[in-house]
């Protein structure tokens, strides 16, 4: 390759090309590469957050972190939250997409309304849900008492496992529209002729779901699951605002732990170490995702 002599025109094109992508590369470096490198750098120091001054400790932060109970329990909480909310998002999302794909009269309105939870700001959404869940004046408790389902108000956010269940439910409510939209887009590209062929071949509605719809959704579902897994894994604002990681630390996921270390305990070095470890874990998802998309391109 390097032996190919470039013509002046080709060199000129190469120069123009470099100039055109230069701004993107610069911005990319400023907002992604620099924070990444400085996080890794900071994780090697013991840093006091307000002054950002500290001393070199090498891998000490990592050693402490791996021996700490709080890290492992937060990781476990993180996994429970991610798996729980993601499962609900997928089930509700696919189900709703199938409903909205039918020829029903309120379809176009419903398709726009369904996006509402996804668009609404997390702070607003959490405020509303906190009010719904409130044990003193919350509407959920009120309705359940009126309906005779419970005799005393339930503490939805301040006790376990209720708090985790509530967080998972609100997460599913907030993010399932993403699944609906992505699945719906795919459903619309499945040719009608496939369903008609299946009908002629003797398949009923259930068989044609399993044999036509689901196989066609498989690839888009893999992508959705990977993306949502990454996004849910690093979710911060929703959990922080809803429970603050409590009761005690029972809904404290890794992002909340990073926040606590950095801004409450003022240990920026330790927080950076947590963040780097988290990134390493997410890198595994990333690699699977990239592999997956690449193997789709190949076939």
């Amino acid at each position: 390759m390097s032996t190919v002599r470039r013509t002046p025109l080709e060199r000129q094109y190469a120069l123009i090309g470099s100039l055109l992508i230069a701004p993107t590369v610069l911005i990319f470096c400023a907002v992604i590469v620099y924070p990444l490198v400085s996080a890794v750098y900071l994780s090697l120091f013991q840093v006091f957050t307000p002054t950002l001054e500290g001393s070199w400790v090498g891998l000490e932060n990592y050693r402490t972190l791996l021996g700490k109970n709080e890290f492992w329990s937060s990781l476990w909480t993180n996994i429970v939250w991610t798996v729980g909310t993601l499962t609900l998002q997928i089930i509700c999302g696919v189900g709703m997409a199938l409903v909205l794909h039918q020829n029903i009269w309120f379809r176009s309105i419903a398709r726009s309304l369904i996006l509402f939870p996804y668009f609404v700001s997390t702070v607003v959404a959490v405020l509303v849900w906190k009010w719904v869940f409130n044990d003193l004046y919350g509407i959920l408790n009120h309705l359940m008492i009126v309906a005779g389902l419970i005799d005393f108000p339930v503490d939805y956010l301040g006790s376990m496992p209720n708090a985790m269940i509530s967080v998972i439910l609100v997460g599913a409510w907030k993010y399932f529209p993403f699944v609906v939209i992505a699945v719906l887009a795919r459903l619309q590209t499945i040719p009608d002729a496939l369903y008609e062929a299946a009908r002629i071949d003797g398949a009923g509605p259930i068989a044609s779901f399993w044999d036509v719809t689901l196989p066609q959704l498989r690839e888009v579902l893999v992508v959705i699951i990977m993306l949502r897994a990454i996004w849910d894994f690093k979710e911060f604002d929703l959990i922080y605002l809803l429970t603050g990681g409590g009761p005690v630390t029972s809904t404290q996921t890794l992002p909340l732990l990073v926040y606590k270390e950095a801004f409450k305990l003022n240990q920026m070095g330790m927080a950076s170490a947590y963040a780097v470890v988290m990134m390493a874990i997410m890198l595994v998802f990333m690699v699977i995702y990239i592999r997956r998309t690449r193997s789709e391109d190949d076939t």
Binding site: E196, G202, D211, V212
Partner: protein, 371 residues
């Protein structure tokens, strides 16, 4: 019995009527083409037979059973879609086996049936492949295989060859005819390609604007088109259709238009004096001698023949076929004639009825005439 009967079938989409009162009886084992220009209602008709669309009124029966309320899977039909509609994630084997599976054929019994179908269609080597790894022609054969495997009463094919290249199309035409001969099953074949319809069918149902125009064997559709539409639609190059007037002179009908006057072949009692249309196939135009005088306008060389367009009066042209050896030059003056024995006369209007008396076996061939 797998006779297919359409009785007074009407199909409307909202205020638009796609099929107007179709009556058609397809005999058991027959290969019938639904032929017509795009949008004439062929697919709609086929889909109603398949049970994918429902007639607005009228009844459809297959083998003496009215199937209006029978689900597609229970009509004992198979359909080949224009897009093939193969299940993309299944192998060729699974695609072909699918209709058997859905009908509860046991796995062990399926294998020999799929194998037999694959052998018939030369798909044996491809059974492990996925549809996207196949060429268009191979996908087409898999779609056929999926239809053949369970030996249905009626095969429905919606423009199955239209996505293939010309050479493969010619090859598949022969294959399909051979297949039909071997299976002896009723086949309903939708196409807009008259060559396919002419070469493959036992009978052709020519449709236009949602109405059946003629239902007859290919040679009859060609030689005795029921009306002006069929006459103009069937045959390439198209039949010469010349508007003029009909007049009765001493018991014989004379046709006259600028540039041409001739005595008509025997007409039915429906013929009336007044505007009418003369139809002459290009092969019945004799170039080089004769009473009609014209000027060569265009010569199309196809290799084995030349198609010559002759202007005989303002706005009136005659297209004729000539051997490839004589090249006519545009601008040249030419004499020509019309083989009156093979001329057609149609009533006025775009779908005017044919007025010729039905052909009898030993009809005398009339001499060349004209001018």
């Amino acid at each position: 019995m797998a006779e297919v009967v359409f009785k007074d079938i009407v199909k409307s989409f909202g205020s638009f009527t796609a099929v107007h009162g179709l009556n058609l009886t397809i005999a058991e084992g027959e290969f019938v083409s639904l032929l017509g220009p795009s949008g004439c209602g062929k697919t709609t008709t086929l889909r109603m037979l398949a049970g994918l669309d429902f007639p607005t009124s009228g009844s459809i029966s297959i083998g003496n059973r009215v199937v209006n309320d029978v689900a597609p899977g229970e009509r004992d039909i198979a359909m080949v879609f224009q897009s093939y509609a193969l299940y993309p994630h299944m192998t060729v084997y699974d695609n072909i086996a699918y209709p058997l599976k859905k009908r509860g054929v046991r796995k062990a019994d399926r294998a020999p049936m799929v194998q037999k179908t694959a052998d018939l269609l030369q798909l044996t080597e491809l059974l492990r492949r996925k549809p996207r790894q196949l060429s268009g022609g191979q996908q087409q054969r898999v779609a056929l295989g999926r239809a053949l495997v369970r030996d249905p009463k009626v095969f429905l094919l919606d423009e199955p060859l239209s996505n293939l290249d010309a050479k493969l199309r010619g090859y598949m035409r022969v294959e399909l005819v051979e297949l039909h001969r071997r299976l002896g099953r009723t086949m309903v074949y939708v196409t807009h390609d008259q060559l396919e319809a002419m070469t493959m069918s036992d009978r052709i149902a020519v449709m236009e604007g949602g109405k059946l125009q003629q239902f007859a064997p290919p040679n009859e559709v060609y030689r005795e088109p029921a009306n002006r539409f069929v006459a103009g639609f069937i045959g390439t190059p198209a039949m010469n259709l010349i508007d003029g007037t009909l007049a009765n002179e001493a018991g014989a009908w004379r046709f006259a238009s600028p540039g041409i006057t001739l005595t008509c072949p025997p007409l039915t009692d429906d013929a009336v004096s007044g505007p009418a249309c003369l139809g002459v196939r290009p092969e019945d135009v004799l170039l080089g001698e004769g009473p009609i005088r014209g000027q060569v306008q265009v010569v199309e060389q196809t290799g084995h023949e030349n198609i010559v367009v002759v202007k005989i009066a303002d706005g009136i042209r005659l297209t004729g076929r000539a051997g490839a050896d004589h090249v006519w030059r545009p601008g040249e003056t030419i004499q020509c004639a019309v083989d009156v024995s093979k001329a057609h006369v149609f009533a006025a209007g775009p779908s005017g009825q044919r007025l010729n008396r039905p052909l009898t076996k030993d009809q005398p061939r009339l001499a060349k005439e004209g001018a």
